[in-house]
C-alpha cells in the first residue's frame, strides 16, 4: 500500500501491524502490550502521524546540522550520507536490562580472559578448550603481539556485542566487536537528539544516562598511562576523513577531550610515541585507536599500511605507550569462537554463559563440518575472519553451482568457515515512510573495563533493517538507527563527565598541542574561506555591472568591464580565461565562462570548487570547530549545491545566491572571531585568512587600477573596487563625493585601521606570525617574520600620490605595480616558510625491502 492509500488512523498504535510473525518488542505475545511501552503508546497516539513526522524532521535537521554522517566507500569519490535516526526509541525495562547487563558483563570478562590467554600462556588451547586451528588460522592472530603484555588487569578495554531477541523472547548475541568497536559516539549523538526532540517523554520515563559508560571509559584510559599519570596525553587515532565513521572519531575526541590524530601525525623516537605539533614533539601516553590491528605498524604488521605508526609495536612492547584496544584483539572477532564460549565459561569462570549466542558450528571439526555441509541451504555461512570482502552467505540464496563452489571451499579450508543458524529476530515499532511499522532490530552494546569488572553502557545503538522483513542490519547496507532507552524504576541522577578536583587542588591550565596537520589544515581553511569570499564579491560586482549594462543598453564602457573580467581570471587562477589565448572571444560573450566559474566543481579555482575544498579541509579539522561554526560550514556547502542553477546565470537569482553566500561567509568569520579561543588553531586560521585577503586584494588592484584608463572608466573602476572591498560607504563618509585614485589607494592600501586594507592585513600578519612558537634562546627574526616586516615596511614607505602617477610613455602605473609585485613575493615567501617550518607533518616513507633489485 502506498502512503497515500493508507487510512488516516485515529490512533497510530491501533493500526500497528505485527504481521512479520516475529516476536515484537512492544507486544510480547498477541495483544499483550508490554507495560514499559505504555508511555510511548500514549505519546504516539497523542502525537499522531503529523507530530511524529515533525519529530522525525527535527531529528534529521539536528543530525545534519551537527554534521553526523556515515561515509560510504564509493570508488574514489567517497560520499557521506547523513545519519538516520528513528524518532521512536527502543524501550528496555529495568528488570530485563539487569539480565542483559549481567550477561554482557560476564561476556566481556570472558572475552578478556580468552584474549589474555591467546597472547599469553595459551592454556585454553593446551587444555583442549580452543582448537589450535581456530586461533592460529585466524588472520587476526598477530604473532608479533604474543607476550607483549599490555598494561592493566584487563587488556580488553572496550568491547561490543550485537544483540537481537530470538523467537523465544531471550536476547541472543549475534557477534562481538573487540578490535575497534564503533558506534558508541553515534549512540551518544542519537541520545543528544532524542532528548531535544522528546524531552518530556525522556524525563518521565526515567531513562538511564549514557555518561555512566563514558565516565569509566575516561577513567580507564587515564589509568592506562605508563607515565604522566596525573595528566596523561591521550589521542584518538583515526584512519582519516575517508573512514566510514570519521564523524564518530572526531565527535568522541571532542566529547572526551582528546586530540584527534592520524598515523603520520605520530612518530616513534627513543621508543616513545610523539605527536608532531606546532610547538614541536609532544609525548603521547595513551592511544584510543580506530585503526585496525593489521594497519597499526608498517614495520611489524602490514607493510603497505599508510594509516599506522612505524615502530608503534616496539613502543608498546617497551611499555612506553598504552593502546586501547591492544593490537591483536581482532583475533576475538571470530564467529567460530561462539561455539566454544559455553564450555570456556564453565571452565574459567565456573559459570554458565548468561547470554546465549546464535547456534554456531565450526567446520574445523569433522562432525560439525558434516552437519554444515548437509544443511548448507538452511544456514548462514560465515568465514572466521572479517575482511573487506567478508560477507555472510545465506545458503538458501545460492544456486546449485554456487553451493558446490562453497562446499569445495569449505572442504579445502574447513577451519576458515562456520555455519550459523538463521534466526528470525524480534521486531520493534519504527517510523518508516510516514508510518509506524515493525522492523527487525539489532542492539549494539558497549562494555568498558572498570575497576571491579566490566561496565555496560545502559542502552546502545539500535539499528533496524532498511526493508520490511529484511534480516541484514548494518550501516553500510543503509539501515536506520534508533536510540535504546533503558528504563529505571526510580528517577535518574544527572551524571557529569567532569572530574571533581579535591578541595585544595588548584588545576593547572593546559592547552593541548596543535597537531602539525591540523595547523596546516586550519591555515588552508582560512585561505579557502577568504578566497571564496573574495571571488564571490568580485562575481557579484560583475553580475551587477552586467545587469546595469543590459538596463542601460550598453552605456558602460567596455574596458571597464574587461578589467573586472580579467581580474577574475587572475584572482581565481583560471587561465587562460579572460587573460590569455582565446580571451578576446570570451570577453565578447563572457556568460559561459562566468557560469563555469560559479558552478563547475570540477574546475580548479571556480567558486564551487573553492567552496568544496573549503568544506573538505574544514572536515579534516572538524574537532576544532564549535557546533555553530560547523553548522555554518555545513550550510555553506548545502545551500550552494542545492541552489545550482541553469546556464542562464546572471539573473537576479545569481545575485541572491551570491548575497546569501557572502552573508554566510561573513557569519563564519564573525563566529570564529567570537567563539574560538585565541590559541594556536585560531592563529593559523587567521594567518591563512589575512594572507589570502592580501593576495586577493593585490591581484584585484593589479588588474584594475594599474593599467591606464580614460577618466570615465577609471572612475567607475575605482567605485567598483571600493564596492568589492566593502569600502564604498566608509569612503563616502570620509571623502564625500570626491573620488580620486590617491585617496582610494590611501584607503584600501595604506590605512591600518580599515579591516579591508592591505596595511591592515599586513599589520595582523605581523602580530600573529610573531606569536608562532619559536626555538628558544634566539634573538634573530625568523624568515617568516622577515618576509612580513619587509612587505609592511615597503608599504608604509610608499606614497599614494606617487603610486597614482603614470610616467610618460609607460601606459601603466609602474610604481604601483612594482610595489604590489614585491608584496606578492614577500607574501609567498611567508607562506612557503610557514609550510616548511610548521606543517611538514608527513614525509613520504619507503619500504627498505630485502630485494636485491639493483647493484650499486
Amino acid at each position: 500500500m502506498s502512503q497515500a492509500d493508507k487510512p488516516i488512523p485515529r490512533s497510530i498504535t491501533q493500526f500497528y501491524d505485527t504481521r512479520l510473525e516475529a516476536y515484537d518488542e512492544m507486544y510480547a505475545g498477541e495483544g499483550q502490550l508490554q507495560p514499559h511501552w505504555q508511555a510511548l503508546m500514549q505519546e504516539l497516539d497523542h502525537l499522531g502521524r503529523e507530530g511524529l513526522e515533525r519529530r522525525h524532521r527535527e531529528a534529521q535537521r539536528l543530525l545534519r546540522e551537527n554534521g553526523v554522517t556515515f561515509n560510504i566507500y564509493d570508488g574514489l569519490s567517497g560520499t557521506s550520507r547523513p545519519w538516520q535516526l528513528d524518532p521512536i526509541p527502543l524501550f528496555i525495562s529495568a528488570e530485563e536490562w539487569s539480565v542483559i547487563e549481567a550477561g554482557l558483563v560476564q561476556r566481556a570478562e570472558l572475552l578478556n580472559l580468552i584474549l589474555a590467554d591467546i597472547y599469553g600462556p595459551q592454556t585454553l588451547i593446551k587444555d583442549g578448550l580452543l582448537p589450535p586451528d581456530l586461533i592460529f588460522g585466524h588472520l587476526g592472530f598477530q604473532r608479533a603481539c604474543v607476550g607483549l603484555n599490555p598494561p592493566g588487569d584487563r587488556p580488553l578495554i572496550l568491547c561490543s556485542s550485537n544483540l537481537a531477541r530470538g523467537p523465544d523472547g531471550r536476547m541472543w548475541v549475534i557477534d562481538d566487536r573487540t578490535q575497534t568497536p564503533s558506534g558508541a559516539g553515534y549512540a551518544l549523538e542519537n541520545r543528544m537528539v532524542m532528548t531535544r526532540i522528546a524531552p518530556a517523554l525522556f524525563r518521565d520515563c526515567h531513562v538511564k544516562r549514557l555518561a555512566g559508560f563514558f565516565q569509566p571509559l575516561r577513567d580507564r584510559l587515564a589509568r592506562l598511562a605508563p607515565q604522566n599519570r596525573e595528566d596523561p596525553h591521550i589521542v584518538v587515532l583515526t584512519p582519516g576523513p575517508y573512514s566510514p565513521s570519521y564523524f564518530e572519531h572526531a565527535y568522541l575526541a571532542n566529547y572526551l577531550g582528546y586530540t584527534l590524530v592520524q598515523g603520520d601525525d605520530l612518530s616513534v623516537r627513543d621508543g616513545r610515541v610523539w605527536l608532531k605539533s606546532l610547538e614541536g614533539l609532544h609525548q603521547v601516553d595513551v592511544i584510543l585507536r580506530r585503526v585496525d590491528d593489521a594497519y597499526c605498524d608498517p614495520l611489524e604488521l602490514r607493510k603497505d599500511s599508510r594509516l599506522g605508526v612505524t615502530g608503534l609495536l616496539q613502543s608498546a612492547r617497551l611499555g612506553h605507550v598504552a593502546i586501547a584496544n591492544p593490537i591483536g584483539s581482532c583475533v576475538l572477532e571470530n564467529p567460530g569462537l561462539l561455539a566454544f564460549l559455553p564450555k570456556i565459561s564453565r571452565h574459567v569462570l565456573n559459570e554458565e554463559l548468561k547470554l546465549p549466542s546464535v547456534a554456531t558450528w565450526w567446520c574445523g571439526q569433522a562432525n560439525e563440518r558434516n552437519f554444515v555441509l548437509e544443511n548448507l541451504d538452511k544456514l548462514v555461512i560465515k568465514p572466521i575472519h572479517r575482511r573487506h570482502d567478508y560477507r555472510a552467505i545465506f545458503g538458501a540464496q545460492l544456486t546449485v553451482a554456487e553451493q558446490a563452489e562453497l562446499r569445495s571451499s569449505i572442504l579445502h579450508h574447513p577451519h576458515l568457515y562456520t555455519g550459523q543458524e538463521m534466526v528470525s529476530f524480534s521486531t520493534a515499532p519504527s517510523f518508516v515512510d510516514g508510518w509506524v511499522e515493525p522492523r527487525h532490530a539489532v542492539l549494539r552494546s558497549f562494555q568498558v573495563a572498570g575497576e571491579d569488572g566490566y561496565i555496560a553502557m545502559p542502552g546502545g545503538l539500535t539499528r533496524i533493517s532498511p526493508q520490511s522483513g529484511e534480516l541484514v542490519v548494518s550501516n553500510r547496507a543503509g539501515g536506520l538507527s534508533k536510540d535504546a532507552w533503558v528504563l529505571s524504576n526510580e528517577p535518574v541522577e544527572y551524571v557529569s563527565l567532569w572530574r571533581q578536583p579535591g578541595n585544595d587542588q588548584v588545576l593547572k591550565f593546559r592547552t593541548d598541542p596543535l597537531p602539525s596537520r591540523d595547523a596546516d589544515n586550519l591555515f588552508w581553511a582560512g585561505r579557502y574561506v577568504e578566497r571564496a569570499e573574495g571571488v564571490a564579491r568580485l562575481l557579484r560586482a560583475i553580475f551587477l555591472l552586467r545587469r546595469e549594462l543590459r538596463d542601460a543598453d550598453g552605456e558602460v564602457p567596455k574596458p571597464y568591464q574587461h578589467s573586472l573580467l580579467r581580474s577574475l581570471t587572475h584572482m581565481t587562477g583560471t587561465y587562460p580565461g579572460f587573460v590569455k589565448e582565446g580571451a578576446e572571444s570570451l570577453l565578447q560573450s563572457p556568460q559561459p565562462e562566468l557560469h563555469s566559474l560559479l558552478n563547475d566543481v570540477h574546475r580548479a579555482g571556480s567558486l564551487a570548487s573553492t567552496l568544496r575544498i573549503f568544506g573538505q579541509v574544514a572536515m579534516t579539522v572538524r574537532d576544532h570547530w564549535p557546533t555553530e561554526i560547523w553548522r555554518i560550514i555545513d550550510a555553506i556547502q548545502q545551500d550552494w549545491d542545492e541552489d545550482e542553477e541553469g546556464p542562464d546565470s546572471g539573473s537576479s537569482r545569481t545575485q541572491d545566491r551570491l548575497d546569501h553566500l557572502i552573508m554566510q561567509l561573513v557569519a563564519f568569520s564573525g563566529l570564529t572571531a567570537e567563539s574560538m579561543t585565541r590559541e594556536a588553531g585560531w592563529l593559523l586560521l587567521e594567518i591563512g585568512r589575512r594572507l589570502e585577503r592580501a593576495l586577493g586584494l593585490i591581484s584585484l588592484l593589479r588588474a584594475t587600477l594599474v593599467p591606464e584608463m580614460d577618466s570615465v572608466a577609471k572612475r567607475q573602476l575605482m567605485e567598483t573596487v571600493l564596492v568589492i572591498c566593502d569600502s564604498l560607504n566608509s569612503f563616502r563618509r570620509r571623502y564625500h563625493s570626491y573620488i580620486q585614485l590617491p585617496t582610494v589607494l590611501e584607503m584600501i592600501l595604506m590605512d591600518p585601521h580599515h579591516p579591508r586594507s592591505l596595511a591592515y592585513q599586513l599589520d595582523c600578519l605581523q602580530k600573529y606570525v610573531a606569536e608562532l612558537p619559536r626555538p628558544q634562546g634566539t634573538h634573530r627574526l625568523g624568515e617568516d617574520e622577515r618576509s612580513i616586516l619587509k612587505a609592511y615596511t615597503a608599504l608604509r614607505l610608499a606614497d599614494a600620490a606617487e603610486l597614482s602617477k603614470i610616467e610618460d610613455g609607460e601606459g601603466y602605473r609602474k610604481g604601483l605595480d612594482d610595489l604590489l609585485s614585491a608584496q606578492v613575493d614577500s607574501l609567498w615567501r611567508l607562506s612557503d616558510t610557514m609550510t616548511s617550518n610548521y606543517f611538514s607533518h608527513s614525509q613520504p616513507s619507503q619500504q627498505l625491502s630485502p630485494q636485491q633489485d639493483e647493484d650499486v
Partner: protein, 291 residues
C-alpha cells in the same frame, strides 16, 4: 665445524632519510647442534634506538632506528658459530607420513600445538591442488615420512632448474611450479607447500652454507650468499632439515639463523625509511671456516 660469518647489507638512498626503522633477524639462534660463540650487529650510522628480543618463533630479533639524517646505512652481522649434525632420534625412520599427519591433529602437547601452526597457510605459502598433485607421487600410503620427504627433495632437485635470473622474492609458487625453476627460497617454499597440502607441518629455515671455491681457485671473500631450506616435523621425534637446492640433509656445513612459516617471518633485514626516496641495495656474505 667453526665459522665466522660476515653478512653486510648496504642501503644507499636517493635522498637523505631523516628517520628509519628496521627489524633484523641476522643473529643465529643457539641450538643443540649449533653453538653461537658471538653474534652482533654493527650499524652505521649508529642507531639511537636498539632493542633485542626473541620473536614468536624464538628467533633473535633486533629492532633499531636511526633518527638523524643519513643517506646511507650499512648493517653488518658478524657471528662465530660451531656447527654439528643434529642427531636422529631412534625410531623416527619408521614413522609413516599418515601417522605424522594424524598426530598433528589429535595431540595437544606443547610440541604438537606449536608444530600444528606450520600446517596452516602463511602469507607466502598457500596450499593448492597443484601442490598436492606434485607431492603425491612421493607419498604412497604407508611410506615412512623421512623417506617420502627425502624423495620429494630429490625430485625437486632433479626436476627444477636453479635459476637466479628467474626468481624474485615475490615469485608466486604457482609460477615456480609452472616454470620448474627458482632459487633456494622458492624450492623451500615449494616443498613446504607440498607438505602442508598433505596436512604435514613444515617450516622455512634461513641461514648460510659453506661454499667451496672451484678446484685450484682462491676462496673469494664476500662471494657467499644467504641460504634457505626447509624442515619437517616428525611428531614425537622433533624436526628434520632438508636442503632441496643441494639435495642433502643439512649437516655441519649449514649454519642456521632463523626459522618461521615462510620467508616473510624471517626476512633478514626489513625497514621503513622516511624521506629517503628510492634506494639501492648491496648485500655481501662471507662464510669463513676458522678451524
Amino acid at each position: 665445524m667453526k665459522y665466522r660469518i660476515t653478512h653486510t647489507t648496504t642501503f644507499i638512498y636517493k635522498a637523505s632519510a631523516g628517520l628509519c626503522y628496521n627489524e633484523a633477524r641476522m643473529l643465529p639462534r643457539g641450538l643443540p647442534y649449533q653453538e653461537v660463540f658471538s653474534a652482533s650487529l654493527e650499524i652505521d650510522p649508529l642507531p639511537q634506538d636498539y632493542y633485542e628480543r626473541f620473536d614468536y618463533f624464538g628467533n633473535r630479533t633486533v629492532y633499531f632506528s636511526i633518527q638523524q639524517p643519513h643517506d646511507k646505512m650499512v648493517v653488518t652481522a658478524v657471528s662465530e658459530v660451531e656447527t654439528g649434525v643434529s642427531p636422529l632420534i631412534e625410531g623416527a625412520e619408521t614413522l609413516s607420513w599418515e601417522m605424522a599427519r594424524d598426530r598433528l591433529r589429535s595431540d595437544l602437547s606443547d610440541e604438537i600445538v606449536t608444530a600444528s601452526q606450520f600446517v596452516l597457510d602463511s602469507s607466502m605459502v598457500t596450499v593448492s591442488d597443484q601442490l598436492l598433485n606434485y607431492a603425491q607421487p612421493s607419498f604412497p600410503p604407508g611410506r615412512p615420512l623421512m623417506e617420502a620427504v627425502n624423495d620429494l627433495m630429490q625430485r625437486i632437485y632433479q626436476e627444477f632448474k636453479y635459476d637466479p635470473e628467474f626468481s624474485t622474492i615475490a615469485t608466486p609458487l604457482k609460477e615456480v611450479l609452472a616454470h620448474r625453476s627458482g632459487v633456494c627460497q622458492d624450492f623451500a617454499h615449494l616443498a613446504i607447500g607440498c607438505l602442508r597440502s598433505l596436512g604435514l607441518a613444515a617450516r622455512y629455515v634461513s641461514g648460510y652454507i659453506e661454499t667451496l671455491p672451484p678446484p685450484g681457485k682462491e676462496r673469494l671473500v664476500g662471494a657467499d650468499a644467504s641460504h634457505a631450506w626447509f624442515s619437517v616435523c616428525l611428531p614425537g621425534f622433533g624436526w628434520l632439515d632438508f636442503d632441496p637446492t643441494n639435495n642433502q640433509l643439512p649437516g655441519d656445513r649449514h649454519m642456521t639463523v632463523a626459522w618461521g612459516r615462510d620467508f616473510a617471518d624471517v626476512t633478514p633485514l626489513k625497514g621503513v625509511a622516511f624521506g629517503s626516496g628510492k634506494h639501492k641495495l648491496k648485500v655481501s656474505v662471507d662464510v669463513l671456516p676458522i678451524g
